[in-house]
């Protein structure tokens, strides 16, 4: 589904990703771990299409198509959704507006009719209660005045409504207490299926106790230096990143 090939990315003149390779297949959950500054968030930002990241070489294919030539919204409509580490507050735009506009944009792109209002409301209400959010969230401006945990739940709510093919979660666990973490993890786990891929960027192993990944990658200094299964995450938790660095230097 997603193929990242020898990706080099520069931000304000300094190279952050230095030849990153990654393949994610449908049905898989990948965790990208690594010390601060390794470039973890850069990868998801580049995939989503954020400004200020210059791809100097390499390519990213999504379902065989060149992702780097697509507009930001085209990537979303193709099925890629980024859950932000710091969700943006959008004063004056109600959550419900965003959800409906986004869902209809997808449907229109697929040549479908816009969703009828009652059907939409039913869908949203179900997902809202799954995320343990009350109806008032829909009437509030997107993320405005939300607590850290509420913002993250709101990101997952959007995923549940929009049902992406590739869900990317950038440090979704940051700023969550244990209860919020469980709700968020349940939401993410409910997204797992044979057709969908999930790419999680995380600093801590904690999240992976709730969402067990198929593959774990260690990103150090702009490259993936080690990949393994969920055991790798446990090892990182126990031993830190030092040994991986030494191993990769050897």
């Amino acid at each position: 589904m997603l193929e990242v090939k020898d990706l080099h990315v520069t931000v304000e003149g300094s190279e952050i990703l230095k030849g990153l390779n990654l393949t994610v297949n449908p049905g898989e959950v990948h965790a990208l771990m690594g010390p601060n500054g390794a470039g973890k968030s850069t990868l998801s930002a580049v995939i989503a299409g954020k400004d200020g990241y210059e791809v100097t070489s390499g390519e990213i294919l999504f379902e065989g198509k060149n992702l780097l030539e697509m507009e930001i919204e085209e990537r979303a409509l193709a099925g890629i959704l980024l859950g932000f580490q710091y969700p943006v507050e959008i004063p004056g735009v109600k959550n419900i507006y965003l959800l409906k506009a986004a869902l209809n944009a997808q449907r229109v792109a697929r040549g479908e009719e816009e969703i009828p209002a009652p059907e939409f409301m039913k869908l949203v209400r179900e997902q809202l209660s799954f995320m343990k959010m009350d109806g008032s969230f829909l009437q509030r401006a997107v993320n405005e005045g939300f607590s850290g945990g509420e913002k993250k739940r709101n990101e997952i709510l959007q995923m549940l409504v929009l049902q992406p093919k590739l869900a990317m979660l950038d440090e979704i666990d940051s700023g969550l207490d244990i209860d919020a973490m469980k709700v968020v993890a349940e939401g993410i786990n409910s997204l797992r299926n044979a057709d969908r891929a999930i790419l999680m960027v995380t600093h801590y192993q904690r999240l992976l106790e709730h969402i067990v990944p198929d593959r774990v990658h260690v990103l150090v200094d702009g490259r993936i230096v080690k990949s393994g299964d969920k055991e790798l995450a446990n090892e990182l938790e126990a031993r830190g990143y030092e040994w991986v660095l030494e191993e990769s230097a050897a």
């Binding site: 989503a48 299409g49 954020k50 400004d51 507009e71 930001i72 919204e73 990537r75 979303a76 409509l77 959704l81 980024l82 932000f84 969700p87 943006v88 507050e89 959008i90 004063p91 004056g92 735009v93 109600k94 419900i96 507006y97 965003l98 409906k100 506009a101 986004a102 944009a105 997808q106 792109a109 816009e114 209002a117 009652p118 939409f120 409301m121 109806g135 829909l138 009437q139 401006a141 997107v142 959007q158 929009l162």
Partner: protein, 445 residues
């Protein structure tokens, strides 16, 4: 021949059967206007607004109000209202609808009101805005002929809005009109008055309107000025409000159209408990120029004013906001809040904003602020990552910026109109009405 003198040539075109005192008033207006001349950028109040396009224009007075139903329907709002329609300043009986006016309410064209009740009307008109306020009010006094007179009796609650439409036609040659609006709201009455300036595409007329609104004790008036003239129309408006004890005036100055638009809004809070609210929104693009000058005079203790003006400027449009609050000596226990926020959608758009407070009392709560910014690019990005295209994302965020003001609007048809104008002009496909329905359904559920 000066530009001012050329305008006054039109005086000669008047019917000469007017009462002597009316003619005398015209002469006073004409003399004042001729003495002042058109303002120039050297006048502080006109520093950023160049009126040469008006001064150098050639305008004649319309003598008919011909506009068929279809053309009118394209301009007016579908409102269940008491309706008075003027076409290039001329009253249209055919397009007006003054049936089922409640008892105690009169809504009439000025000429009729003057005929039937000339002492009351003649005494009131010009009391708040005579020849001295500006060259344009003087010109209006000299040339005004028609207008709307609304009188609401004590304690009367007028359920339907009073809807005054000033339609500007696409004429072969440019017309000018100098209408008056007079609203006399009796004690404890409640009413909504809408002044709607609507223009056909290509209309290039000059409207110079003066409105006076008088609120007696405890009266409540919601006043809407919706300006949707064509992008070639020239528009100068002066709105003067006088408030008695415990009265509440709420102004919505919603400006979408026009090539050159100047609005002055002045309120005198003359007795305790009087409250005035100024809500303003202007959305300009192309080379539109809009200038809002507002003034609140806190002439009495225990009075309240709250002003929120939002400007959205695209392309090479230019905006001016000058908001002044004056708290007189001994006007204690005043609250006065003022805010002007502007959104620049283009690097070449320009806004000049100047909030002014003059406070001569010590027990007051006042604040003022002005901000100018661009759309939040992080928010644009966030919306796009949800599949919303860039234009729509920008349109949505622009509407959101206007939201604070538009949320105060109590007439959905106006909200919809403004939203469609703002969103439509920023080409986008967002079906807002549909989402409003969903929202409503949600609230009912």
């Amino acid at each position: 021949m000066s530009a001012a003198h050329a305008f006054l040539q039109r005086l000669g075109e008047r019917a000469d059967d007017e009462p002597t005192w009316v003619a005398a008033r015209r002469q006073a207006g004409a003399a004042r206007f001729e003495a002042l001349g058109f303002p120039t950028k050297r006048d502080e109040a006109w520093k950023y607004t160049d009126v040469r396009r008006i001064a150098e224009g050639e305008f004649t007075l319309a003598d008919d109000a011909e506009l068929d139903e279809a053309r009118f329907a394209a301009l007016g709002m579908p409102l269940d209202a008491h309706r008075l329609v003027f076409v290039d300043g001329v009253f249209s009986t055919a397009l007006s609808d003054l049936t089922d006016l409640p008892d105690g309410v009169s809504v009439e064209p000025l000429t009729t009101a003057m005929r039937t009740n000339h002492e009351a009307i003649g005494g009131a008109i010009g009391r708040l805005a005579g020849v001295d306020f500006s060259p344009f009010t003087a010109l209006n006094v000299a040339l005004s002929e028609e207008g709307a007179v609304v009188r609401i009796g004590q304690g009367v609650v007028v359920e339907k809005p009073i809807y005054v439409v000033f339609a500007s036609r696409a004429n072969e040659s440019a017309r000018m009109s100098h209408p008056r609006v007079l609203v006399m709201a009796g004690a404890r009455s409640q009413s909504t008055v809408i002044e709607h300036y609507a223009g056909e595409a290509g209309a290039a007329n000059f409207t110079n309107v003066v409105s006076e609104v008088m609120l007696e004790r405890g009266a409540i008036v919601d006043h809407y000025k919706l300006q949707e003239a064509s992008s070639e129309d020239l528009h100068v408006a002066s709105i003067h409000v006088e408030q008695g004890r415990d009265s509440r005036f709420t102004s919505f100055n919603l400006n979408l159209g026009g090539a050159l638009v100047r609005t002055d809004l002045v309120t005198d809070l003359n007795a305790q408990g009087a409250e005035t609210n100024y809500n303003g929104l202007f959305f300009v693009q192309g080379r539109q120029h809009v200038d809002n000058h507002t003034l609140v005079n806190h002439n009495a203790p225990n009075t309240f004013s709250n002003e929120n003006y939002k400007g959205i400027l695209n392309d090479r449009a230019r905006g001016v906001f000058n908001g002044k609050v004056i708290v007189k000596r001994d006007s204690q226990q005043i609250e006065a809040y003022q805010n002007n926020a502007n959104l620049l959608l283009s690097d070449r758009a320009e806004i000049d904003t100047k909030p002014e407070l003059e406070i001569y009392a010590d027990d007051v709560k006042c604040s003022h602020g002005a901000t100018t910014g661009q759309l939040d690019e992080e928010a644009v990005f966030a919306l796009r990552t949800r599949g919303i295209d860039e234009q729509m994302a920008r349109g949505l965020l622009t509407l959101a910026f206007a939201g604070e003001v538009m949320d105060q609007v109590r007439l959905p048809v106006i909200t919809e109109r403004v939203e469609r104008a703002v969103a439509g002009k920023l080409p986008e496909r967002f079906n807002l009405a549909d989402l409003v329905e969903v929202s409503d359904a949600l609230e009912e559920a």
